[in-house]
């Protein structure tokens, strides 16, 4: 049995039904078999009927039957990573001259999820818009490896950019999804199936008949992602996609994006900016920290330069109690909300052990040794 199928069966077994259904949908899409995809949509629809109550055995039977059939087509679950875009020393200065994006280089492959983090006004959106071809570069160049002698229209067709403030749509949401799929060449019955798939995949089916003004900003973001994904972009650029989402939706969307990037059906590169540092770090292959227009830190490269272990801590204990617990083996900083403990001698788990041993009440603890957070 293929690993992916095994994982899904495990989710089913441990009652992670929602996750299992999403993965079934992904797996059936990757088989590129419309019959399997339609069945997966039916499975998802039947799960949605019962998800607030007790899921009937019939659901598990149909899910397992479908998984078995998908398992017979798992030879299709392979894809070759390809280079999508190379940005070399791109620089952008606004006409007003009050901000400059310093030389930044970047490579994005299919399957990559690259996070861009940083404080407001430091150039995250500018970097994203430059790579999306929306802003003219002052110098440097962008090379789209998949396109031969492209014009800007080809480039913009090749990638998709979702801004933080999503432009208003008109007409029914489902019409918009059909339209987006159709303008990218997904026509006829396939269009219908793909729209149904995307609605199920992003849990949007109950809202499909509504209009823009009838849904919340979180669902607008989801619909925009669904719309863009139906256009099958090779590079997806999202500016602050988590801004309008609740905490659960943030996690769910990020995980979905991670899976979708590596989808066999449409492998793509994802470049996203966010203030949600830890959430992005969890799913991103590379995280860029942008400060004052420069790339201050890049995971996978500069993290090796870390010379000390750093943790974040939230506690009701006094500073004196903490210092006492650390026994002089760590430097303590307090920003008003939580403490940052830096230690060249103690690893995160050692620090945690000392705190527990010192009877320090802990409400939040995070190892940020390899996180961009330690630079902020």
């Amino acid at each position: 049995m293929h690993t992916r199928i095994g994982e899904i069966q495990s989710y089913l077994q441990h009652n992670d039904h929602s996750l299992a259904v999403r993965r079934i949908l992904d797996a059936s899409l990757d088989t590129a078999d419309m019959t399997l995809l339609k069945e997966a949509i039916q499975v998802s629809q039947s799960y949605r009927q019962y998800k607030e109550t007790i899921v009937p055995p019939a659901f598990f039977e149909s899910a397992h039957a479908l998984l078995n059939r998908i398992n017979n087509a798992t030879e299709r679950f392979t894809y070759q990573t390809t280079l999508l875009v190379t940005a070399r020393d791109i620089i952008k200065t606004y006409a007003a001259g009050n901000f400059s994006l310093r030389p930044i280089s970047l490579q994005i492959h299919t399957g990559d999820v690259i996070g861009v983090v940083g404080e407001n006004g430091n150039g995250k959106t500018t970097l994203l818009r430059c790579i999306a071809g929306q802003l003219a570069l002052d110098s440097g160049d962008l090379d789209f490896a998949q396109l031969k002698e492209p014009d800007h229209y080809d480039i913009k067709h090749h990638l998709a950019f979702i801004p933080q403030r999503i432009p208003r749509w008109y007409g029914s949401l489902k019409d918009n999804l059909h339209f987006s799929a159709a303008i990218s060449g997904v026509t006829g019955e396939v269009n219908n199936v793909m729209v149904d798939f995307m609605l199920e995949r992003l849990d949007l089916t109950p809202y499909a008949h509504l209009t823009w003004s009838q849904i919340s900003s979180g669902y607008r973001t989801r619909f925009e992602i669904a719309r863009i994904l139906l256009q099958k972009p090779r590079l997806l650029i999202l500016d602050e996609p988590l801004a309008n989402l609740d905490i659960n939706a943030q996690q769910s969307i990020l995980t979905d994006l991670q899976f979708m990037a590596k989808s066999v059906h449409n492998p793509m590169g994802i470049l996203l900016s966010s203030q949600q540092l830890h959430e992005v770090e969890k799913i991103a292959d590379t995280v860029l920290l942008i400060k004052n227009g420069s790339c201050l830190f890049r995971t996978g490269e500069l993290e090796k330069t870390a010379t000390a272990f750093v943790v974040e801590l939230e506690t009701t204990a006094s500073r004196a109690a903490l210092v006492n617990a650390l026994n002089g083996q760590g430097v303590l900083q307090y920003n008003g909300g939580f403490y940052t403990i830096t230690s060249s001698a103690l690893r995160a788990q050692d620090i945690l052990a000392k705190l527990v041993k010192g009877n320090i009440p802990i409400t939040y603890f995070r190892d940020i040794t390899h996180s961009t957070k330690r630079f902020i």
Binding site: Y153, F179, S180, A182, I183, N191
Partner: protein, 497 residues
């Protein structure tokens, strides 16, 4: 699909769905909805117009209908635009084919045309009603019969002395000018001979007047008395015979026909009855809005008009003829031109808006208005002649074209390039007309420098203008399929600054 539109039949819903899934470019123009609802509205409007409780002989109410229906057209246009502007394949960087621009334009043109056509429904229906009610030959025959029978019944009028003008052929230019001469009020030859008040005309005017006169007497080598028949044509045919085999008899023809064949006294009653039937057929009492009642007629003729109440008859025939032949000859050409240019103008604006940024579109409108004002001021203060005006227009087109070419040189999307493209697209259709106008102005100037004869008496240049109009449309279509589509694609997708 979430389609809950009223009056939308199942086949249209299926067509909508099919177009959306398979051809979003066509679907997004909403041509299918405009075609269906537009034709439905036109048919409903046509039925209403047919049922309008207004006599065919009455004054036309078409102006009021056009005004009212134009408001509905504007509303229809706005509703269509609301739907149209929701989806745009081009601006969403979808898959577009090389013919996308041309196909979109044609579909916008059809949709706009259908909406503009609303205003033409009532005039057309009114025309059809008039044609159903009265045949072409029937009107001419009736007019002749009425005039003939009136002549028979009022035979004494045929003894009225004819009125004449004394016309003298001018020998040289130094003689008194034509304008300074007075019209002769004398009705008998003797007075005319004694006190000849006359028109002194040059050879062209003299022979033209002579060709129109019904009878003449030569007084000497240069003086003629030119007689015109009294108005025995009581009821006018209002050019109803332009397209018929039977012609409306002139007063002169009526005179000859009746004068030689006076009616027998016994037949008068029968003639009178037949005349009443004919007059009743056309008489429709309505307030005359053109002041026909105030027309001055010679004494006995005015009496006839009153006696037989001919003014309403004349008015009715005029109304019927106007309605019947509204779409004949130059009226048809003018109607087609109004429809075509109105539709073209609106279509071009929609096409430009759909392919341009909102900012560039409105800046283009502003630039267009400013250029018109600037050009008008320039022409007013510099006393440019017609040739210079045409030349300047050609220069504008050339400049806009150069600006549009800059889209390939630019690395960024500049508004000025967009303005150039938009204005080029908007006026390219009339470039051939301007060039023909320019050539005609040059040819006419050259002609009048050499000779004093009328320029282009056969109206050949009118044909050239027609060819230019057709050529302009073809040029636009060719450019849409080749240059315009590419230049918008290039410019719109450029990165911003």
């Amino acid at each position: 699909m979430n389609i809950e539109r009223p009056l939308m039949p199942g086949f249209l819903k299926r067509a909508e769905q099919k177009l959306l899934l398979n051809n979003p470019g066509i679907w997004s123009t909403r041509i299918q909805l405009v075609l269906y609802y537009g034709i439905l509205f036109i048919l409903t409007l046509a039925a209403l117009c047919f049922l309008e409780p207004k006599d065919v002989r009455a004054n036309s109410t078409t102006e009021y209908w056009i005004g009212f229906v134009s408001i509905i057209s504007v509303i229809g246009l706005i509703v269509w635009l609301i739907y149209l502007l929701r989806f745009n394949v081009f601006k969403k960087y979808g898959n577009i084919k090389p013919m996308h621009g041309l196909v979109s334009f044609i579909l916008y043109f059809i949709a706009t045309g259908i909406i503009i056509l609303f205003a033409f429904v009532h005039p057309v229906v009114e025309s059809i009603r008039a044609n159903i009610a009265y045949g072409d030959e029937e009107i001419v025959r009736d007019v002749n019969d009425i005039n003939f029978k009136l002549g028979q019944l009022e035979y004494s009028l045929y003894k009225t002395a004819w009125r004449y003008d004394t016309i003298v052929l001018k020998k040289s230019e130094n003689e008194i000018s034509e304008d300074a001469l007075r019209y002769s009020d004398y009705n008998d030859l003797d007075t005319a001979k004694e006190k000849p008040l006359f028109f002194r005309l040059d050879s062209a005017g003299f022979y033209r007047t002579m060709s129109m006169t019904d009878s003449l007497i030569k007084m000497n080598d240069t003086m003629y008395l030119m007689y015109n028949t009294p108005p025995f044509d009581f009821v006018s045919g209002y050019s109803a015979d332009d397209n018929t085999k039977t012609k409306v008899l002139t007063a002169f023809e009526l005179f000859h026909k009746i004068h030689r064949h006076p009616p027998a006294p016994a037949a008068r009653e029968k003639i009178s009855k037949e005349l009443n039937v004919l007059l009743h057929k056309y008489r429709y009492s309505e307030k005359l809005d053109w002041g026909a009642a105030d027309v001055e007629r010679p004494g006995p003729f005015a009496r006839i008009y009153d006696k037989y109440q001919l003014e309403p008859v004349n008015s009715s025939i005029s109304n019927v003829v106007v309605k019947k032949y509204r779409w004949e000859g130059r009226w048809l050409t003018e109607g087609v031109r109004i429809f075509y240019y109105l539709t073209l103008g609106i279509t071009l604006l929609i096409f430009i808006f759909r392919h341009s940024t909102v900012r560039a579109f409105f800046l283009s409108l502003l630039t267009g208005v400013l250029l018109v004002i600037f050009s008008a001021l320039l022409f007013s203060f510099s006393h440019f002649d017609e040739i210079a005006v045409y030349a300047m227009f050609v220069i504008y087109v050339f400049l806009f074209f150069i600006f549009s070419l800059a889209a390939w040189a630019n690395k960024k999307r500049f508004a000025i390039t967009g303005i150039g493209i938009n204005l080029f697209v908007f006026i390219i259709t009339i470039l051939p007309i301007v060039i023909v106008g320019w050539c005609r102005a040059i040819a006419r100037n050259r002609h009048y420098k050499q000779v004093d004869t009328p320029f282009d008496p056969k109206g050949i240049w009118d044909h050239y203008f027609l060819y230019a109009e057709i050529g302009g449309s073809l040029l636009l279509l060719v450019l849409l399929a080749t240059y315009i589509h590419k230049v918008y694609r290039r410019w719109y997708s450029l990165p911003e600054n």
